[in-house]
């Protein structure tokens, strides 16, 4: 379909070029290659007020007729798809070299404020008018035929154009003009062709530390850390060395856990507290484990606390963000690990930490053999029922494909679903594939028990080392398995049967053959998933959602997937290259993003860490005020390390109600949790006269949480008054994106707080509270 539209559009280019000189008039608009440039859709001032202030310069793409446009074109080069395509014209379209239609998104809003996404099917410069672009959009199938006027917007790299008025079916009856809308005629003298940057050139600009604006750098820290620090030490650092050097420095910051050899108890890291004398193997353990003992040794409380402390104080910020992002789509939950055993769970976290800047292939392999994951999704102990009738447990086989690596739908490299001839999505795998893969995952179990370093006579189950092929030969499935196709295998990969070495008996040599076969088979299967063409776009989509924006343009996913496919040195799956591509993409960078669909809702963890860091929190990492041990963000709807299911804290593809957009974090935003978020701001900033959360050992809060906003109090008490306070909060928390109306409203509210001895405190609290509870802040853009 799109090829035909493409062809038809090209055929008409010459006509369009000729016609344009008559339509276009006005002053030359500047074209620049700097970030944050907004596209301009060309329009003219309308003659009649009833028809709106402006009207787009728009043509039906085949007949070159003008509006109103019917939904179906009488003449169409796509007999199976009669939907009308319209051509609009744009300048200031800051495309990268080679960027095409999938970098652009567009939508139309009708009088009832219904938004219709419009698929951009073609974009090119107009011949002889190199700085002017024609953009062909397919009308939406759901538009009523007599819709009337709509306002159309074009987005590129998170920047939206002006909106222009186009008539569908009939002229008039559309939404009101945007404030200040004026005609945007094309320049009398067509702009020259912009010099398009390559992706590498775009990224290289940031090697000059002075290139990025302050706003851009603050946005960057929101994406690449748990939030900029209140003392600006991290901001000043990235300002001095530039983003690429900063990313590289972060790549080289080791995970905070210590080396295996130096851990006194187990060959383990202690990023998460491991060496605690868990009573299970601690000779002096209390005979009756009281509430505090349960909290400290048999719950996730120590891990959750450590997570928050790491987020607030440790320097490996980017690794922590990326690790948490991986954790959210390669999920194990503590509840199913012997009811929140921290020493069953911590190695899972460490496995993710260790691999977050490694290769995705190794991430998949190590997580598959992680005993905590084995417990969670039943690969540990997985076995054939009998060799004649294997039916092993399918849990891990299904979820490693659906959630950890390739997803359910075949994807193009830009993350959009592959569609069949009928326009339906194509499943990546079926039940037979799952049954086959499940048979690969048989025979694995825990490694040998560990000896407690505290009590040499005590042994503990080994949830630290990778699982090993078990000594029971009867568990293995030794028949052939058919897997999937991948980039190296146009036909499905087959794991051959083990053959006669394994087939009969249980002699030591046959067991050894089974075990060797299991290892080989597992590697084949992991390679198959890793090399599946979906892996790059799938992983990139997940990471972009979590670090930058919920609705990336396909081209953004595509640039990331290209880095996944090849890090520049021919290596596939290099996560460092993927992260660099995500953070140094034109859709991620820039001062301010105006695309209304841009950004993502801060999930509870991110909301809390950003504020705690911004106000120099000193904390025990507990934060919750209830007696029940739990994660700091549980009241806000996110129980860290205990997501309800393997589908994580919120669905990765959650649709924002009333829109056609994805908004994963909205999956846990409801009428209750929105209040909980708001009340957290009261707890942190307002109650106890701003003293934060008080220490209360009896309530599991050893020191409580204290924040500091003294510098803001000084601002409001100074000559700048409330305006200076609000402006400072805008710069620090919202990288300057607060709307003028919001700014004015908060200034008025702050000013209304009566002058008294405590006015500076109360005014500051009021301002912070209003900013922090606002949707404008809570949606990170």
């Amino acid at each position: 379909m799109k090829n035909r539209a493409f062809a038809s559009s090209k055929r008409l280019v010459a006509f369009v070029g000729a016609g344009l000189a008559m339509i276009l008039s006005g002053a030359l608009a500047p074209v620049s290659a700097a970030p944050s440039i907004s596209p301009t859709l060309i329009s003219v001032s309308a003659g009649l007020p009833s028809a709106g202030a402006t009207r787009a310069v728009a043509l039906e793409s085949v007949s070159m007729t003008s509006e109103p446009f019917s939904l179906s074109a009488e003449t169409n080069f796509s007999p199976n798809d009669p939907r009308t395509r319209i051509t609009l014209f744009a300048i200031n379209l800051d495309l990268l070299a080679g960027e095409t239609r999938n970098s652009l998104t567009a939508d139309a809003e009708d009088a009832a404020h219904v938004h219709y996404p419009l698929k951009v099917e073609y974009v090119s410069t107009v011949p002889s008018f190199d700085g002017v672009y024609m953009v062909v959009m397919r009308l939406n199938d759901l538009m009523p035929s007599n819709l009337g006027d709509v306002l159309i917007r074009l987005n590129l790299h998170g920047m939206s154009s002006n909106r222009v008025r186009v008539a569908i079916g009939q002229i008039g009856g559309g939404p009101a003009d945007d404030p200040g809308a004026v005609g945007t005629p094309a320049p009398q003298t067509p702009p020259a062709a912009a010099t398009a940057l390559t992706v590498a050139q775009f990224q290289a600009q940031y090697s000059n530390a002075a290139f990025a604006s302050d706003q851009d750098l603050r946005r960057f820290l929101e994406q690449a850390s748990w939030g900029g620090k209140g003392d600006d030490s991290d901001f000043n650092h990235v300002r001095s060395i530039g983003i690429p050097a900063y990313i590289n420095e972060q790549f080289n910051t080791p995970p905070q856990f210590v080396d295996a050899a130096s851990d006194p108890l187990f060959p383990l890291s202690s990023d998460y507290p491991f060496s605690a004398p868990y009573p299970q193997f601690f000779p002096g353990a209390p005979a009756v484990c009281d509430a505090n003992c349960l909290r400290d040794f048999y719950s996730l409380y120590p891990l959750q606390k450590q997570f928050m402390l790491n987020a607030l104080t440790q320097p490996d910020q980017l690794r922590q963000r990326v690790s948490f992002a991986f954790h959210k789509f390669i999920v194990a939950g503590g509840q199913q690990l012997n009811n929140n055993q921290p020493f069953w769970y911590a190695p899972y976290l460490q496995t993710i930490d260790r691999n977050s800047f490694g290769n995705f292939r190794n991430m998949l392999f190590e997580i598959t053999l992680n005993p905590g994951m084995g417990e969670y999704l039943n690969m540990r102990g997985n076995s054939v029922v009998s060799r004649a009738n294997p039916t092993p447990n399918e849990n891990y086989a299904r979820e490693i494909m659906q959630l950890f690596s390739i997803g359910t739908d075949l994807l193009n490299q830009d993350g959009t679903p592959v569609l069949d001839a009928q326009g339906n999505r194509v499943p990546t795998y079926d039940q037979t594939n799952i049954s086959n893969l499940a048979r690969v995952f048989t025979g694995w179990d825990l490694g040998l028990n560990k000896t407690s370093a505290i009590d040499p006579n005590a042994t503990v189950a080994n949830y630290q080392d990778p699982m090993i092929p078990n000594g029971n030969a009867n568990r293995y499935d030794i028949a052939a398995k058919t897997l999937l196709t991948d980039i190296n295998h146009p036909s499905p990969v087959v794991v051959p049967a083990c053959g006669s070495a394994c087939t009969t008996g249980t002699s030591p040599s046959q067991l050894a053959a089974d075990q060797a076969y299991a290892i080989t088979s597992l590697n084949t299967a992991i390679d198959n998933l890793f090399n599946h063409p979906n892996a790059g776009p799938y992983v990139c989509t997940q990471l972009i959602h979590q670090l930058v924006t919920s609705n990336p343009a396909p081209a953004y996913v595509g640039r990331c997937a290209a880095a996944f496919a090849n890090n520049g040195s021919g290596v596939r799956g290099d996560i460092k290259a993927v992260i660099t591509a995500i953070l140094l993409d034109p859709e991620a960078r820039g001062d301010v993003k105006t695309d209304p669909n841009y950004g993502h809702l801060r999930e509870p963890v991110l909301l809390m860490t950003h504020l705690l860091r911004a106000f120099n929190a000193v904390t025990d990492g507990v934060l919750v005020t209830s007696i029940t041990p739990g994660s700091f963000s549980t009241p806000l709807g996110q129980n860290v390390f205990n997501p309800p299911t393997v589908f994580s804290y919120f669905p990765a593809d959650y649709g924002l109600p009333g829109t056609s957009l994805v908004g994963p974090e909205f999956g846990i935003l409801d009428t209750s949790t929105t209040y909980a978020r708001t009340n957290f701001m009261n707890t942190l900033f307002v109650q106890n006269s701003g003293a934060g959360i008080l220490a209360s050992p009896a309530n599991n809060r050893p020191t409580g949480t204290q924040i500091s906003f003294a510098s803001y109090q000084a601002l409001v008490a100074g000559s700048g008054g409330p305006q200076a306070l609000v402006d400072a909060l805008n710069a620090k928390l919202m990288h300057g994106t607060m709307s003028a109306a919001m700014n004015a409203s908060i200034v008025a509210a702050v000013t209304a707080v009566p002058v008294s001895a405590t006015q500076a405190l109360q005014r500051t609290q009021t301002a912070i509270y209003l900013v922090a509870t606002s949707a404008q802040y809570q949606v990170e853009r």
């Binding site: 009832a112 219904v114 938004h115 219709y116 199938d141 759901l142 009523p144 039943n378 102990g381 076995s383 029922v385 039916t391 092993p392 447990n393 299904r398 659906q402 359910t408 339906n424 999505r425 039940q431 037979t432 209304p596 669909n597 841009y598 993502h600 809702l601 299911t645 589908f647 593809d653 109600p657 009333g658 908004g663 909205f666 846990i668 935003l669 409801d670 009428t671 209750s672 949790t673 929105t674 209040y675 009340n679 009261n682 109650q687 919001m742 409203s745 908060i746 509210a749 209304a752 707080v753 009566p754 109360q762 009021t766 509270y769 209003l770 509870t773 606002s774 949707a775 404008q776 949606v779």
Partner: protein, 512 residues
């Protein structure tokens, strides 16, 4: 419904009524509520209990007379597939543990409920389950219901015909159960879409028609209708939505009318995600004001379990329905209980020992105890409120589980994802004590659609592991409930766009 008295509220979407368009309309949320009915005279409520994770229907309702033999007559029966006493540990519920039932419409053939559906039967002193409600004819079983694009047979399935989108995937099947859209990913739920069409039955009420006790749910989200999500009991209704403010008052109090806090909710509405967030906060503020006036009504005892507390809160909400300025006439509630994804530990380790293990322990056993006791308490409370005929409670789940166990070590047997399951419908309006469902599309098998428990048999998929191809669709199930609730005939077809593919749009388990 008197057509002439219906109010024409919107006409802009009049052109969009073809069935083909409706399925896709769901995705883009076009306003399609053209007409709204008048305010209802009576009260009706639907209560959805979502059994999250995919409940094993095979161990909820079990053949009793045919315990050893499937209806097909081979020896490959329930007990053989699921493990037998004295044999290797398995999943079979012992026949002696079954709560025998003889539905009114099975020609005298007996079945058995899982023992924990009435825990008191085997363990005196336990809170009661719902056996008495069945015996009183107020609880029905819907057999082998699931997500279907169209009626299909095993041969159709093998030929690739009529497969719902992403069968056996949790996320997709949850979506299909809650959206009643089987061929793609629905973006609205059928509870929400019913509300879109029936909000007029309530008039200008203060609470949304849909209330979830389990966080935000797809089920409760319509094209235009949004849900209220509040905490379960024991949080009192006056406290489910409470904003705290410890700062100066007034004018610093941020929640009074005209406050900056409220004003900010009106800004930047053109920015999609910001609007999504402010919409949620705004609806919370509205409900907050209403619920703060409601008080904390007293109700009868409920079990202190996840589902018990959710249903207790629903009972309280129902009790205050007439205390609002405009009484609630129609309500749709959603609650959810998780843990049914029993890949392991579905039953206790020793199925031969009813006292210490077997079906009565294990993950599913514990959950069924919770479900039956909570449903029983809720039913009793509705009787106490004289509303049992006005409130219908029903279960749905991701899917059922394979009849054949999966291998995972000797002591932790579980099952994998399957398809059609059984559902319970409870209430005074339910024509209970009977089995409901449809015959296979080739008109073989039982009239009420109970599957032949035979691996590779006529109800199985090609996995031959006992993944029953549903004989009744979630669309039919939901439409039957929706019709009772008051969704007008023409709207039923709109809300359930695939319904016309199936022989009957009303399964008949509710009084009209």
């Amino acid at each position: 419904m008197n057509e002439s008295r219906r109010k024409f509220l919107r006409t802009s979407a009049c052109g969009l009524t073809s069935a083909a368009m409706l399925a896709s309309m769901d995705r883009l949320n076009l306003v399609n509520a053209m007409v709204q009915p008048d305010v209802a005279a009576d009260y009706r409520a639907l209560v959805c209990i979502f059994l999250s994770g995919g409940t094993d229907g095979n161990n909820m309702v079990i053949p009793f007379d045919d315990y050893n033999n499937p209806v097909g007559g081979t020896t490959n029966g329930y007990d053989n597939v699921r493990g037998v006493p004295g044999g290797p540990p398995g999943l079979a519920v012992l026949k002696t543990q079954l709560l025998q039932i003889t539905p009114s419409n099975t020609s005298g053939v007996s079945y058995g409920f899982h023992p924990n559906l009435s825990p008191e039967a085997h363990n005196a002193g336990q809170a009661k389950g719902f056996m008495d409600i069945w015996n009183a004819g107020k609880l029905a079983v819907l057999c082998n219901v699931g997500s279907l694009v169209q009626p299909i047979t095993r041969a159709n399935y093998a030929a690739g015909i009529g497969h719902p989108y992403q069968l056996f995937s949790h996320s997709d099947q949850v979506n299909q159960q809650q959206s009643s859209i089987a061929n793609t990913t629905g973006q609205t739920g059928w509870g929400g879409r019913i509300a879109d069409k029936t909000n007029g039955l309530n008039g200008a009420v203060v609470l949304p028609m849909n209330i979830s006790l389990a966080g935000t749910s797809l089920f409760s989200s319509g094209v235009n209708s949004r849900q209220l999500a509040i905490a379960a009991a024991p949080t009192s209704l006056a406290n489910v939505l409470n904003l705290s403010w410890s700062g100066p008052t007034p004018p610093g109090n941020p929640f009074t009318a005209g406050s900056s806090f409220r004003t900010l909710l009106g800004f930047d509405q053109g920015t999609t995600l910001i609007k999504g967030s402010t919409d949620t906060t705004s609806s919370a503020l509205s409900a907050d004001a209403a619920l703060n006036l409601a008080g904390n009504p007293s109700i009868g005892p409920f079990p202190n379990t996840s589902l018990g507390n959710q249903l207790a809160q629903i009972a309280k909400l129902i009790k205050i329905k007439d205390t609002f300025p405009v009484p609630m006439k129609r309500q749709i509630f959603f609650c959810s209980v998780g843990g049914f994804d029993t890949h392991t530990n579905e039953t206790g380790s020793d199925p031969t020992n009813p006292g210490s293990g077997g079906a009565q322990s294990g993950t599913q056993g514990g959950l069924l105890t919770q479900v039956s006791q909570a449903m029983r308490a809720f039913y009793d409370e509705m009787v106490a409120q004289s509303l049992s005929n006005n409130v219908t409670t029903f279960t749905i789940s991701d899917f059922s589980r394979t009849l054949q166990p999966s291998g995972s070590g000797a002591s932790t047997v579980g099952t994998d994802h399957a398809w059609g399951t059984h559902a319970f419908i409870m209430g005074g309006a339910v024509l209970g004590g009977a089995f409901y469902g449809s015959q296979r599309p080739d008109h073989s098998g039982l009239l009420y659609g109970f599957p032949t428990l035979q691996l590779g048999g006529p109800d199985d998929t090609t996995s031959n592991r006992g993944q029953w191809i549903p004989t009744t669709s979630i669309d039919q199930y939901a439409a039957t409930l929706a019709s009772w609730y008051g969704l007008a005939g023409p709207d039923v077809a709109t809300v359930f766009p695939s319904l016309s593919k199936f022989a009957t749009s009303n399964l008949g388990f509710l009084t009209p």
